[in-house]
């Protein structure tokens, strides 16, 4: 029993030590629980909430673009895409092989799909066909009976129903780049998968307005990132519809009327500056750009000598040629260089220093006054009068009427053109001005370069005497443009001369006059030299039409209608069309007839 007592004594003493240690450890555990569950509970509650809730943005629908009468020019179309859910498929590779018997899936696409499947969690769907037809969707539905995990999903795609007719105005959309997201203030819409932004045209210009505001979906996600349920949803706000000033029917007519000719045509409302028609040919189909253009198509577009990617009405630069004489003629009156009835004799050529230049009419116009010189487009008259006026007056006046600077139309890539004067030449070429350059500027040749839109704006300003500013957006009310400060009598004289160009025998566009339709138009032809005509050719009497196409002159025509109370101004340029009267004026005439049909005049 002594042994037992001893043993119990040792045991109880050590059990006491051990028990104390355990109590201490219980204390540690309780302390830890208290700290986690009471002291730091709020912090952990927040983290748990962050764990649980995921905010997802819902892509807003891109705003539509419509014409002045609400006809749709750019829209969002529901289209279907086919996807595979990897988590429901045992043998992905075999499934893809099976699918490739029904849908075209290249070996490269297959590899990309398998790579994507390895990278992503199993519940992320693999898209293997985009923009599929209804037949493909029903085929997929049929196949899904044997291939579980094959599903079709509705998606939204941007489409341009009239494709090339408005390509240069609308632009297109394509996937955004990292740099673009940064440049656009990290707009969350741009960070969404499949996000696209406007490239060129209205899509670019009004990208922010068209983009809309994203919706927000709060979802509960599990540890693997799978969505368990929806907590709340705020629907996205569709982008603002953009109403353009264009008339779709007129635009389509214009594009069709240009046919295989390359060039540009612009019609604007002189009272509001609204552009009703703006055609650039050749064109391209913007629909191929939205889904990613392939290399071959791109090469073809980029290397085409007729430059389909250039928006010619605002980015094409042409010498205004004889259309510029309207401006020169007005400047002559404005600076009081000539009296309208003062005559000058045109022998068909003009001596300037020791050089001889020619009138377009070899035999000469004989004695011409201001009005006849403009109507018959006498070069010699304008050589002499411009010489008297001086280049600075001409340049100042051209700038007043809107040449040499951008019109600030709502499109990117607009060119400002060139209105040359000694200061310009000094700066651009570091050369002195030669007097000979003054006289060819007077007939719209030489360094002078204008865009077709500038010519249309110039015409509108001549027709109204106000600072017409062009716009592509529909205007509810007429805009009050400030007056140009040109004497109304001078303007009337120019308008009368332009009317006579079309409506009086001997005018360069008399053949294109309108008869028996109840309205008339005024205009001015122009023929811009692409290549200098050599003496030998002139002597041999080689006609412009006989030259290879790329050497033929550009034909141009500016016009306004009706004659008495101008409402619309236009500029048409037919590249290598040989002459304004034969190429550009008929197009203008047909456009005006179409406008008459549509009720504009």
């Amino acid at each position: 029993m002594i042994l037992e007592d001893n043993r119990y004594h040792v045991f109880s003493r050590r059990a006491f030590l051990l028990g104390t240690a355990k109590l201490g450890l219980f204390g540690v555990l309780y302390g830890k629980l208290y700290r986690l569950q009471s002291h730091e509970a709020l912090k952990y509650r927040e983290i748990a909430e962050e764990n649980r809730v995921n905010v997802q943005l819902i892509a807003p629908l891109r705003g539509r673009i419509v014409d002045r009468r609400g006809q749709i020019l750019a829209q969002n179309e529901q289209q279907y895409r086919l996807m595979l859910l990897p988590e429901k498929i045992d043998k992905l590779e075999e499934t893809i092989d099976l699918l490739s018997q029904h849908f075209s899936i290249s070996a490269k696409e297959k590899k990309a799909l398998l790579r994507q499947a390895r990278r992503n969690p199993k519940f992320v769907p693999l898209v293997f066909k985009k923009k599929v037809t209804w037949q493909d969707v029903s085929k997929a539905e049929f196949l899904s009976a044997e291939i579980s995990g094959l599903i079709s999903e509705e998606g939204v795609f941007r489409t341009y129903p009239y494709g090339p007719d408005l390509a240069h105005i609308l632009g297109y959309i394509s996937p955004v780049s990292e740099a673009e997201i940064k440049a656009k203030n990290n707009d969350p819409v741009l960070k969404l998968p499949d996000a696209q932004s406007g490239k060129l045209g209205i899509e670019e210009n009004k990208d922010a307005e068209l983009r809309g505001d994203p919706g927000e979906r709060q979802v509960e996600i599990n540890a693997a990132g799978r969505i368990i349920k929806e907590i709340s949803i705020k629907p996205p706000a569709e982008g603002k519809t953009q109403t353009l000033s264009l008339d779709l029917d007129l635009q389509r007519f214009g594009y069709e009327r240009m046919g295989s000719e390359t060039g540009a045509a612009v019609v604007l409302d002189v009272r509001t500056g609204e552009i009703l028609l703006q055609v650039s040919t050749p064109s391209y189909d913007p629909n191929v750009f939205t889904s990613g253009v392939d290399q071959a198509t791109w090469q073809q577009l980029a290397q085409n000598p007729d430059k389909p990617l250039i928006n010619k009405p605002v980015a094409g630069l042409y010498p205004p040629a004889s259309t510029f004489k309207t401006l020169t003629a007005l400047a002559l009156l404005h600076y009081n260089i000539v009296k309208p009835n003062q005559t000058f004799f045109c022998p068909g050529h003009y001596f300037f220093g020791n050089r001889q230049v020619h009138c377009w009419k070899k035999e000469g116009h004989g004695s011409v006054n201001w009005h006849d010189a403009l109507v018959k487009s006498c070069d010699v008259y304008f050589y002499e009068m411009t010489r008297r006026m001086g280049i600075q007056n001409l340049a100042d006046f051209a700038r007043l009427v809107g040449l040499g600077s951008k019109t600030n139309i709502e499109l990117s890539g607009e060119k400002s053109g060139i209105v040359p004067d000694p200061a310009w030449k000094k700066m651009a070429k570091n050369q002195v001005w030669f007097p000979g350059e003054t006289i060819i500027a007077g007939i719209g040749q030489g360094f002078l370069l204008t865009t077709p839109l500038q010519l249309a704006v110039m015409t509108a300003r001549l027709a109204t005497g106000t600072n017409v500013h062009p716009t592509l957006f529909h205007q509810e009310h007429p805009r009050a443009f400030s007056p140009l400060g040109i004497h109304p009598d001078h303007l009337t004289l120019v308008r009368q001369a332009m009317s006579d160009v079309v409506n009086v025998p001997g005018g360069t566009a008399y053949a294109q006059r309108l008869m028996d339709v109840g309205f008339a138009y005024a205009g001015k032809t122009g023929t811009a030299q692409v290549r200098r005509i050599s003496m030998a050719q002139r002597a041999a009497g080689i006609k412009n039409e006989d030259l290879p196409r790329q050497y033929r002159d550009h034909g141009m025509f500016i016009a306004f209608t009706p004659v008495d109370t101008p409402k619309y101004a236009s500029a048409v340029i037919i590249e290598h069309g040989s002459s304004g009267s034969r190429a550009a004026a008929p197009v203008t005439k047909d456009i005006f007839l179409k406008m008459h049909e549509l009720g504009y005049v």
Partner: protein
């Protein structure tokens, strides 16, 4: 000679024994198991399948086993202690070979209705064997080197078999629970002091030669959780978030977001208490801690009132085993100790753990019933009666 004769006497004896059962242990273990089942129900998305239903059946079976164990006299357990130990070692050897034939770590034997993990039951077997070994010791022997070596051998065999599986957590618990028995049975203090001083050296050798790569990883992750934010460190972080988001009163049964959304790993086994903590808050966790404290307290009061060394050592050995499970599991899921796969007794889903805990409680109850018996040191052979109180 036995006091009882015939069947009616046997019934009377059983009744007598049952009256002497410490009901507190039964109530506390039932409550723990109930909370465990409730949590499993919640983990399964408020469903009895696949875990809660099975757990109930297992608890019922284990509870019956506990009662059966109390009916076998303490001296019988003493008598067969080495046999039980031997049987457990044999099972470990069996899984050792199955494991090497199969692939990777094999820790269980398939019994059809459950997977038996011999490493769990081994804990009880070792405590029985050590209690018996130290029961038979006289003070002079306690200091003899050869005497200690035999005891250490009893520990070393299962320790290495389990560590080889490799199951570091269980091996550690086996080691620690034997240390407790060594300590309680009066092994001189200087040996423990020396062992503590030598521990860093042994630790370094172990680090270099014995630990598997993933085990080293766990220790390193414990020391610096940020080095593996998506692995073990991630699990601990998510578990702590669950505790914290539970707050004082919990998010409600079946409402814990960390639980529902799979953020907590191993929710039905090792991390079940994190789920419980998230849904029942500090009120719930403190309640469970109190239940555990009561159970440990019962162990101490029974051991200290027991008149034989075998009963005392057995009782406190098992109590310490229970405590260690609670402490290591809670410590792990709250980030106090490294991640070692230790279940929470009675709450974690797992047949062997449930069985082992209830067998242990059965033995504690048994000691409670027979605590007034004085069992002589080494004269078991002289006893004639199977039942009875010598």
């Amino acid at each position: 000679m036995s006091k009882y004769h015939g069947f009616s006497m046997y019934i009377a004896m059983v009744k007598g024994h049952l009256r002497r059962l410490p009901t507190g242990i039964l109530v506390c273990s039932c409550l723990l198991a109930l909370l465990g089942v409730m949590t499993l129900y919640s983990v399964a998305g408020m469903s009895f399948d696949p875990w809660a239903k099975k757990q109930i059946l297992r608890f019922a079976f284990s509870f019956a086993l506990l009662l059966a164990i109390t009916l076998v006299p303490l001296q019988t357990w003493l008598k067969y202690a080495y046999w039980i130990y031997g049987g457990m070692v044999l099972l470990l050897v069996v899984v050792f070979f199955i494991g090497h034939v199969g692939m990777g770590a094999q820790r269980w034997i398939n019994l059809g209705f459950m997977q038996l993990q011999p490493s769990e039951t081994m804990k009880i077997g070792l405590i029985l064997a050590l209690a018996k070994y130290f029961h038979g010791v006289i003070p002079e022997e306690r200091k003899r080197f050869s005497f200690l070596m035999v005891a250490l051998l009893l520990v070393a065999i299962p320790f290495f078999l389990v560590a080889e599986q490799p199951d570091l957590g269980t091996a550690g618990i086996i080691f620690l629970s034997s240390i407790v028995i060594f300590f309680l049975s009066g092994v001189p203090m200087w040996i423990f002091v020396t062992a503590v001083l030598l521990a860093p050296l042994i630790g370094m050798i172990g680090w270099r030669y014995a630990l598997h790569g993933y085990q080293k990883q766990r220790v390193l992750t414990f020391l610096d959780p940020s080095r593996d934010p998506l692995g073990a460190g991630y699990h601990i972080t998510q578990s702590k978030i669950a505790f914290g988001s539970g707050g004082l009163f919990g998010q409600g049964w079946g409402q814990g977001s960390q639980n529902r959304l799979d953020f907590i790993p191993e929710r039905h086994t090792d991390f079940i208490f994190s789920v419980f903590a998230e849904e029942f808050g500090l009120m719930g966790t403190a309640f469970v801690l109190i239940l555990c404290l009561i159970l440990v307290g019962y162990g101490y009061s029974i051991a200290l009132s027991c008149r034989n060394q075998f009963g005392r050592l057995l009782c406190l050995g098992i109590t310490s085993l229970f405590f260690m499970h609670v402490f290591i599991n809670l410590g792990m899921i709250t980030g106090i100790v490294p991640v070692v796969g230790v279940p929470f007794p009675l709450m974690s889903y797992g047949g062997t753990s449930m069985l082992t805990t209830m067998i242990g409680f059965g033995l504690i109850c048994n000691v409670a019933i027979y605590r007034r018996d004085e069992i002589r040191r080494a004269t078991l052979g002289a006893r004639k009666s199977f039942f009875g109180t010598g």
